[in-house]
Amino acid sequence: MALEFLSSLSEIEIIGGLTLLSLFVGGIIMAVGVIIARTVRVLFAKYYAPKLPQDSAKNFGKLIYFGIIIISFLVFTSTTGVDFSGLLVAGGIFGIVIGFATQSVISNLISGIFLMIEKPVKQGDKIEIVGSDVIGTLLDISTFSVRVQKFDGTIIRIPNESFFTSNIRSLSSTPIRRSEAIIGIAYKEDIEAAISVMGKEIRKSMKFVLILPEPEFRVKELADSSVNIEILVWHPRDDWGQVGPVLLKVAKKALDDNGIEIPFPQRVIWNAKD
């Protein structure tokens, strides 16, 4: 019964030697191919992906999945016995046309491949794209674009080509980072005393500031109204939020508590007749 059914299918020709039976067999091959691809992807995700960086694991997963699908398709075409050469020539010409029309898409794809090979940054890194307002956490590098979650919580999508050609500042590649602040004291004040009280207050109240390298104080400028002191402190790379935004507050508190004047901008005007 089943043999008769298959035999009847083999007699029905759809187009150029492609019978209904070969199409049926091809369908089974593709279905098996998809099942194998999914199974391999699941096994890969379970046993091997955890050992790889997240973005590499994701891309390898895609490569394996689509690789098996393509192999299944090639097996399917070879079993049908249909001559696809005419279709390939037409497809080639069509491909060139599409290539010109989708230049930026191809460019993003190629840039994405190079980003995956070069790995200037990895998923989860804190990055800044110099010259733009993009600063945040890299979520992923996918085929055509990169997604960055800014510190305000919003997510920005950047085309791979644009990301690849940008200057990328990594905020996560070293164990520590430095924060800076500039504060001015009056000319009449003792610079050493001001530095001493600020150093003590930073040591006491800023628990993420590193003991070594020590906080550094530099006389930055003899400005119009004040002697400007630059404060440079190091902290663990992920704790900028505990240091950068509060450094000036701590320095001001130290100066205020010790009666050291932070002057207002002032200008003395001499009258020519005097």
């Binding site: 164990p175 993420f208 003991i211 070594l212 190091w234 992920d238």
Partner: protein, 251 residues
């Protein structure tokens, strides 16, 4: 169970069974545990800055058991590293092919564990010396190792720990180089070292530091050694990846 230190009486490390309430006095810190209803206890910890931590503990039985003990100094102000940097206030000079044993104070933190059914669950952890609980970098900013920092001093024996502030660590120093050197600091992965306690004293597994030549570099190879003691082993507060030893550069 109590210990008098610098005129003030503090509680001791150990297991506490609580039927109704318990008050523990530690340096700069007070812990209060009391029964608020059948099978429910409240836990509160207040430190010298008036920071208050409160928790509710539902339990299966009518009695609460906790363990107060020293833990590795890795959790305050935040968990960032497994390494400890002990800055020795008086450097130890080792002449060529010589060895010495010193006892150093090493900071600790305090862990409170909820004991039930043979398990010890982390309930709280804190430091009684927050001002000196800071980080430092060993090495260069590009590739150095982030460490917890402590200024330390050499003491005479295991009896010299300061309750709830630090423990005593024995360091066996050995110089196999052909010149004398001063040792000013010891950097090591403290996550490998267990802490033990008795009353209000605490000690840490020993270190074995060998000054030697590795290719053209002179290094200090720091490894840990388990100690045999009648002190009680503290439970582990943090989940750790064990790092066995550390190679320090010689200054």
């Amino acid at each position: 169970m109590s210990e008098e230190t610098t005129g003030k009486t503090f509680s001791n490390y150990g297991l506490y069974d609580i039927n109704e309430s318990l008050e523990l006095d530690l340096p700069n810190t007070e812990i209060r545990i009391k029964k608020i209803s059948e099978n429910v206890f409240s836990y509160s910890r207040q430190n010298f800055d008036d920071d208050l931590i409160e928790k509710i503990i539902p339990i299966q039985s009518s009695k609460l058991q906790i363990e107060l003990c020293p833990i590795r100094p890795l959790n305050f102000p935040a968990r960032r590293t497994n390494h400890m940097y002990l800055d020795v206030d008086t450097p130890v000079f080792l002449s060529e092919n010589s060895s010495a044993t010193v006892f150093l104070r090493c900071p600790i933190e305090i862990g409170v564990f909820f004991v039930h059914d043979g398990h010890k669950d982390s309930l709280d952890c804190f430091t009684c010396n927050p001002v000196d609980s800071r980080f430092c970098l060993y090495g260069s900013p590009e590739s150095g190792t982030l460490c917890k920092y402590a200024k330390t001093e050499i003491v005479e024996s295991y009896d010299d720990s300061i309750p709830f502030i630090n423990a005593v660590l024995k360091v066996n120093l050995q110089n196999t180089l052909s010149k004398g050197l001063s040792i000013t600091k010891v950097v090591f992965p403290v996550s490998s070292n267990s802490i033990y306690y008795k009353d209000s004293k605490s000690i840490i597994d020993s270190l074995h530091a060998v000054l030697k030549k590795k290719l053209t570099l002179e290094i200090i190879d720091v490894d840990f050694e388990k100690i045999q003691t009648d002190f009680t082993l503290s439970p582990t507060y943090e989940k750790i990846e064990t790092v066995k030893h550390m190679d320090m550069g010689v200054d």
